[in-house]
Subunit: 214 residues, 2 copies
DNA sequence: GTCTATATGGTGATAGAC
DNA sequence: GTCTATCACCATATAGAC
């Protein structure tokens, strides 16, 4: 079943707003982030934002959606790789972690959205839109879930409960959205080393063969 | 260097307020949780809360503090265990995870506080109190950090960067505060099985010898 | 100690000028 | 499309009755 990939391209004004909004949501959280603040960080007033989005909730939902779309794009070619599950998982996991680092603000918003959903903090009006977004997130998660299940079947991973393993794996792979801090002059190689350590940790947690990480 | 353990006992009225507050902070987050809501969940009005706490911020700080004190108590006997680091770590980690599950509301508040600190969301007035609390949290974290460092020295764990390993370890061990849901009629054995899976994942992530988990 | 007002400030959202 | 009011609402915090 095909993921509804965006038909509508991101025009620049919308993208500007989304980036500013993602940053504010990351720095303040959903409730504490104000539309005024998003506008101010754009050097504008909220009239501009309300022209594009009918409500704060809709703005947030769009940040969430775009964040998920970025994720799907990042692993799309990898999840179709032929052959054994373990190396495929390694590629996917690595791409995922790098994505968490490089699009951190959006990914943090995704986390906030998932967390709001889990604790039932969504209002009745938000619920429909959120169901959609959570559906995207679930489907994305299932790609990994199916991959580690296959790896376990193939004997290259060892864990007990699949759901718990998947939860713990994502907590690990997502964690840079909380503690990563961009350093001045940081090279791509340093980011990849960081990602490598995160993937290695997750692989070990999943009972994978350490020699498989190159 | 002694951790300042509480001299002042928790009288019942304060404990009631703290429990209600912890629950609200968990369900709504710091910004969205209202004093009115905490009061309502106590069957009271906010006059009662403001009699005990001068501000929402102080109330939250007390929840944070009590949560951390619970943690110190949970691992206090274990961190002094003699012998090799690996089994000591297993005991500490296991106790920590069970603590996350059984005092979930308080631990979630602790997380919220740490996160607010990390993203600089604290106001100047909050800063001093938060520095204290974050200090507690850091010292608690150091107990684990020293233990895994020792385990690595002893050859029973294998990882690259100590800080990153400690971060990833805590993300794993803390994660039940997000996804754990109490089930009706759940037994202690089921909780311990759950905790065992979390600890096993973390141990694997730290490059520990799987046979060491009993 | 706890309650019932109430002051105060901030935020989401709207209306209408430009 | 964006800005400048402005409204309505809600939440923190306080004052004073009981």
């Amino acid at each position: 079943m095909a993921i509804s990939v965006r038909e509508n391209a991101l025009d620049n004004s919308r993208l500007d707003i989304l980036q500013a909004a993602a940053k504010c949501f990351m720095e303040r959280g959903y409730a504490a982030a104000s539309i005024d603040e998003v506008a101010r960080s754009l050097g504008a007033t909220k009239g501009r934002i309300y022209h594009h989005y009918p409500s704060k909730s809709d703005l947030f939902a769009d940040v969430f959606r775009v964040g998920m779309e970025m994720n799907f794009e990042a692993i799309e070619p990898l999840r179709r790789l032929e052959g054994p599950a373990l190396p495929r998982w390694c590629e996917m996991a690595r791409a995922h972690v790098i994505q968490m680092i490089t699009t951190r603000a959006f990914q943090r918003a995704v986390w906030i959205g998932v967390e709001m959903h889990l604790r039932g903090a969504t209002t009745p009006e938000q619920r429909d839109v959120f169901e959609d977004l959570i559906g995207l997130r679930t489907q994305y998660g299932n790609y990994f879930r199916e991959t580690i299940a296959a790896a376990r079947d193939e004997g290259s991973m060892r864990f007990d409960d699949l759901s718990i393993a998947n939860q713990l794996m994502f907590m690990t792979l997502n964690s840079p959205i909380f503690w990563y801090r961009q350093r001045i002059g940081e090279t791509r190689a340093e980011i990849e080393d960081l990602a490598g350590q995160v993937v290695t940790f997750a692989l070990g947690g999943l009972g994978g063969n350490q020699e498989a990480t190159r």
